[in-house]
Chain length 199, copies 2
């Protein structure tokens, strides 16, 4: 049974589409939004539009940013010779929470998945090869998800990168196999970085 | 650790404020919103603004609507002599899902709670008394939440309404005590309506 008031039904529908939100949660959230002050609701709507208009990919690593370079690529204290390759921006957040990793990242925005029609051309791969070819990188850590797609992506990229004489490593299996990398806890991720294996 | 990109951090913050959404869910939802097409994101933002601008309270029952009367009060097939008093618009939805109740509603928008400074004047009580005083109502069903505040509200309203010679009933304790009415299942709510007791 949908709500009969069209603007409210549409709002509930919007929240139902979000990951991890069911029908009743969507309804509860919609009522919460209705209960906001006029100013807060307008601010919320503006945040959505702002995020879309202002956020794009870092021209070096592909992570999300609102300037040309993301804060990590722009930082003078990060080790530019060490690159951690991840599938998603959320994975960068997960590694940053460990406060241990001092290198930079490269965000693929997905993993190779023939079954979903996603090949290397659909991912942020070309700019990774350009970075490696430029010659300043000593080691690339493959930190794709510990799934079939993530493993295949790591192996594929490893074969492309090794000819440049760059060390390619893979996260230690401290990360739980089959899980989603962005939900790993700080300690597990830290151990996984420390125990990385040369491929 | 917050995200360093301000527009994204602000968006995540907005979702963190929603009921039942934690930090990681908020982050996941924000990335989902970023992944929407430009058109879908603008539509989402517009839905929030529309809901706020177009939705107000029904002039009879206080439920949320985008016209003067809500669809239930405007319907010619609903029994106007039977009024079900609920705390929130979500409770109306819960009763409507039973498809059994053919009367109308009155939405209080809360319950009496001295500890939170909510008295009858903060609730949609005056218009309920006006409806009863108008003389067309035969029975008022108290369907406030089965909590201390809900019970107190039901008792208070019952004392105000009985002098008008109107039958006042209370939902049967088919609804789980201490729970939140909007999450009750259809069958439980239906039994509760059937077994209502004269106060």
């Amino acid at each position: 049974m949908g709500y009969k008031v069209a603007p409210l039904a549409r709002l509930i529908e919007q929240f139902e589409r979000m990951p991890g939100i069911g029908k009743k949660s969507a309804q509860r959230i919609a009522f919460h939004v209705l209960g906001m002050s006029e100013k807060d609701a307008k601010n919320f709507a503006q945040c959505i539009i702002d995020a879309h208009e202002k956020i794009h990919r870092c021209s070096v690593c592909g992570d999300l940013t609102d300037s040309d370079l993301c804060p990590i690529c722009a930082s003078i204290t990060r080790d530019k010779s060490l690159v951690c390759v991840v599938e998603n921006p959320a994975d960068v957040l997960a590694f940053e929470r460990t406060r241990e990793f001092k290198g930079t990242y490269h965000v693929l925005h997905g993993a190779i998945s023939p079954i979903n029609g996603i090949g290397p051309d659909e991912l942020n791969v070309k700019s990774l090869i350009s970075r490696v070819a430029a010659g300043d990188i000593k080691e690339v850590i493959m930190a794709t998800d510990p799934t079939v797609e993530g493993e295949a992506t790591a192996m594929y990229l490893s074969k492309l990168i090794k000819p440049f004489g760059v060390t390619v490593s893979r996260l230690a299996y401290g990360v739980p196999v089959g899980g989603d990398l962005e939900y790993a806890d700080e300690i597990t991720l830290q151990r996984a970085i420390e125990g990385r294996q040369i491929l």
